[in-house]
């Protein structure tokens, strides 16, 4: 079962190496082959399936900086809106444990308090 490691490595390398990104744009299958991506990582990339890659375990920070490799805009405003929208309905990420997951805002409420977090996170806090 893919865990996103190979795809993540490809994204990491392309962020640092414009020539690699150019080769990827010219022949994505060849470059994914060089990076030995397992088939389900390749398919998720072909489909631009951010949810699949997120649920496999590619770190969320790396997902954001790899939007353009998945056919999405990397404009700052687009990352906040379109990219986040593409993750709607995503299940938990396996690489995140110590992070509260209240889900997208309810009724346009972006500013939340502890009471808006799921039960696990509403425990006693050191003052």
């Amino acid at each position: 079962m893919a865990n996103g490691y190979r795809a993540g490595k490809l994204f990491f390398d392309m962020n640092r190496n414009p020539q690699l990104f150019a080769r990827y744009q010219a022949d994505r299958e060849a470059v994914m082959g060089e990076y030995r991506l397992p088939e389900d990582e390749k398919q998720a990339i072909r489909d631009g399936n951010t949810i699949a890659l997120y649920e496999m375990g590619i770190n969320p920070y790396l997902m954001v900086s790899s939007a353009r490799f998945l056919g999405q805009s990397s404009d700052m405003a687009s990352l906040v809106t379109d990219f986040t929208k593409s993750l709607e309905g995503a299940g938990p990420s396996p690489v995140i444990d110590s992070v509260a997951n209240p889900g997208p805002p309810k009724n346009g409420k972006w500013l939340i308090r502890d009471e808006d977090l799921p039960a696990r996170w509403r425990g006693a806090v050191k003052k």
Binding site: Y5, A77, F83, T84, L87, V99, L111, I112
Partner: protein
């Protein structure tokens, strides 16, 4: 005897420079707070900056992920992000290899095995506060990169100890350098998750309230789950905890600004400790 002359903690949301108009008056108030911190910086004229930050998969991937990495380079390239995106031109930032090496050496000799790199590139996490505090980049910077992006992350208490170590090393310097310690990132934010855009204002209030009261040891004991109430981005407060450890015990910080800026997806705060 060297001395630490100033401590700073500041958010580093890319929108701070990349989406100024979208943030309107809130953004202007946050900028004003950073300008206030710059005034404090210029009053004390530090000789060197030790900047505790994290990066976001720029130098390090999962094949090699240091908990704490000290940048020993003569200079550092930054920001890595395109100028069209972050609105900050690329440049080389001067380092301080000699003090950096001394820090690592004393650390290792006191049971604190730090990693090091002679060639770190800096991303928005490091550059944004520098852009405001030292816009001419004429003060050498020793970047210390923490892993705040991939669990398991370093223990917050351990990072507080890193700050205490920095204090000891600076005090031991025969040259008597004046050092500013800057920590960047946070406060509450979610990055790359379906929650991106939420800000836990209660988490931010709690964090800043403890800082104002000088309850720095208390923050150093926050568990990862307590930190996680503020999103995956809140784990960056370890960088501020490093600064807290380098301050005199129980130092009260002054909050220069706090704005929950929804377009910047971050509860943005900036504080300073006068020493």
């Amino acid at each position: 005897m060297g001395e630490i002359v100033l401590g700073i903690g500041s958010s580093h949301a890319p929108g701070v420079t990349g989406q100024v108009e979208e943030a309107g008056e809130q953004g202007a108030r946050f900028h004003a707070g950073l300008h206030k911190i710059r005034e404090e910086f210029e009053k004390v004229k530090p000789d060197v900056i030790i900047e505790i930050a994290n990066e976001h998969f720029v130098n390090f991937y999962l094949d090699n992920m240091p908990s704490i990495c000290v940048g020993m380079g003569e200079q550092h390239f930054g920001p890595v992000e395109p100028e069209s995106w972050l609105k900050i031109p690329h440049r080389m930032i001067p380092g301080h290899p000699e003090l950096a090496r001394e820090l690592v050496k004393q650390a290792i000799n006191s049971g604190f095995d730090l990693s090091f790199s002679e060639e770190l590139a800096l991303d928005h996490g490091s550059i944004i506060p520098l852009h405001f505090v030292t816009p001419n980049y004429d003060v050498p910077v020793i970047p210390i990169i923490l892993n705040n992006v991939m669990e398991p992350m370093p223990n917050p208490r351990r990072i507080f100890q890193l700050g205490q170590l920095i204090r000891q090393v600076v005090a031991s310097r025969p040259k008597g350098e004046k050092v500013a310690v800057i920590g960047t990132g946070g406060i509450s934010h979610w990055v790359g998750t379906p929650e991106m855009g939420l800000i836990n204002v209660e988490f931010d209030e709690r964090f800043l309230d403890n800082i104002e009261k000088g309850k720095l040891e208390s923050i150093a004991d926050w568990t990862p789950d307590e930190i996680g109430k503020g999103g995956n981005g809140a784990h960056e407060i370890r960088n501020w905890i490093g600064v807290m450890g380098s301050m005199p015990a129980n130092s009260k910080g002054e909050v220069a600004t706090y704005e929950p800026v929804v377009p910047w997806v971050t509860g943005c705060g900036a504080v300073y400790w006068k020493v």
